[in-house]
């Protein structure tokens, strides 16, 4: 996909996120907006994906979302990638919907391979899927996305230790480094020191994307990450993002982690992101 089309899709996904959470007055727009460029680029230009969906995902790259609360961006990107009708985004968080508050396989939504929401489990799941790829002699890659606050969950460090010890080198785990969590800045809630230093100490290859909201930078950084796979070490991408990116009043604050805009705020936010591909 060309850069112009990537930008158009990114803007449309932003509108989807804002309209989804506004409609049900709940959900997590902040982290969703911060990861929009990344997930759009991942699904359109980076991952090797097959047409259609089956759970086993043989002969294609797979993605696991660990920080499941950013489901609005995940659902919008999946829909625009053809896994289910875009108009189904209208059912987000409603009774009897396949688009649950947090992603699940339980309702049979194509594109989702694991439930997530309770934090800290997705990296382990991704490692398991990566090891099955190796057993199946399937040279495709496993991608996963974790929040930075999520790294406070201890299971991640079990997984990080295991992945390097077992040379799980067909895995690219991206950390959304937005520096924020529900209760405030990660440095105030529980300072984690150098996340880069920690991953390197656990013998991972670390690649930094300084502007994780810039499509060019994401394309370049993920190409570097891909080139680093298959060399005996798991690969970590530190993606520095802006929570609430693209909506001025949602940026530079943790306030929109899990809060929906009201009618006026939605109008303001949508005006900053004019319709490109058409609203659902």
């Amino acid at each position: 996909m060309s850069n112009k089309n990537l930008h158009d899709l990114t803007t449309q996904v932003r509108r989807d996120i804002l309209r989804m959470v506004h409609k049900v007055n709940s959900g997590h727009p902040g982290g969703s907006l911060g990861c929009t460029e990344f997930l759009v680029t991942l699904y359109t230009n980076i991952m090797n994906r097959k047409e259609g969906f089956d759970m086993d995902g043989i002969d294609e790259d797979l993605f696991f979302l660990s920080n499941g609360h950013i489901s609005p961006v995940f659902y919008s990107v999946l829909a625009h990638s053809g896994y289910f009708p875009v108009k189904e985004l209208n059912t987000f968080r409603l009774l009897n919907s396949r688009l649950q508050g947090h992603p699940t396989t339980h309702e049979g939504l194509p594109g989702v391979r694991i439930a997530s929401g309770s934090l800290g489990q997705g990296l382990s799941v991704a490692i398991g899927a990566a090891q099955t790829k190796k057993l199946n002699n399937d040279s495709n890659l496993i991608y996963s996305l974790l929040g930075d606050g999520e790294l406070q969950e201890g299971q991640n460090w079990e997984a990080i230790m295991y992945a390097s010890a077992k040379k799980v080198d067909n895995l690219i785990a991206t950390i959304d480094l937005n520096g924020k969590q529900i209760d405030g800045a990660t440095d105030d809630v529980l300072p984690m020191g150098s996340i880069k230093g920690k991953f390197e100490a656990f013998d991972w290859t670390v690649i930094e994307i300084e502007n994780g909201n810039d499509i060019e930078a994401i394309l370049e950084g993920m190409a570097t990450a891909k080139a680093a796979t298959g060399k005996g070490k798991p690969v970590c991408v530190l993606l520095k993002t802006m929570m609430g990116n693209g909506v001025d009043f949602m940026m530079h604050t943790h306030a929109w982690h899990g809060k929906a805009p009201n009618d006026d705020q939605l109008e303001n936010a949508l005006n900053q992101n004019p319709e490109t591909l058409g609203d659902y």
């Binding site: 309770s118 489990q121 099955t132 057993l135 295991y162």
Partner: protein, 317 residues
Amino acid sequence: MKTYTYTEKKDTRSGFGAGLTELGRTNPNVVALCADLIGSLKMNQFIEENPERFFQIGIAEANMMSIAAGLTIGGKIPFTGTFANFSTGRVYDQIRQSIAYSDKNVKICASHAGLTLGEDGATHQILEDIGLMKMLPGMVVINTCDYNQTKAATIAIADYEGPVYLRFGRPAVPVFTPEDQVFEIGKAIQLQEGSDVTIVATGHLVWEALEAAKVLHEQGISAEVINIHTIKPLDDKAILDSVAKTGCIVTAEEHNHLGGLGESVARVLALHHPTPQEFVATNDTFGESGTPAQLMEKYGLNSDSIVEKTLKVIKRK
């Protein structure tokens, strides 16, 4: 009255090990994971024959459960091995979200369940695991009674699509079920036919129930003994057919009376055929250090207790 004998005692965990070894030879999709308890779980032979299909996780059970969920994606059938306490309570949320809610085909194989773990004491003697696991939607819960049944169950669950909790134990117990049995998930097995009382037992208490039936027979009491190896889904029909004849029931298990087999049976009876019931189970307590036999006696989990509860329940008819 049928006679049950045995020529040897073996631990049920060795039945698991033997079943896993056979699966390694017959089912290329079976993989195994362990959190630093290979010897205790008797997984050595499988590992020797299939090193590429074994994952040593280290002492990190949460990671093990979620990795197992991931391994299913691409068609593998993971069998996780650790003690029952670390297979359930320690990793409940990982099982709940990544395995049960995500509908993953993981077999959680749990050794050293209950008091018969013995001297290690209450930190390791989980008596709540059946309850924890049966409450998870879609989870099959199995507690086997001897070496042969555990081996057969291990082989059978590989052919079942969906999450399974398989519970077994540490001590050597009589081997009395047939070597060539076919294990049917959810199908109770009638071991003795009787008319005065139904004794429904699971796990290590099944042999104790047979011993109790002999004592009761000498007292002129005809006990029907049923081996319930699958606690979920429960064989409702077998229980209801039996109590329709006998009019009273004793349940026996190496587990807390809250959340175990007894409660599942009580629910079936309350819904369909209210019947006097007595419980052979622990009484909402933790265990302690001791030999398995000492502990089973102190906490009332042996044939003497089954006889006592039987005499009590018959009077309530």
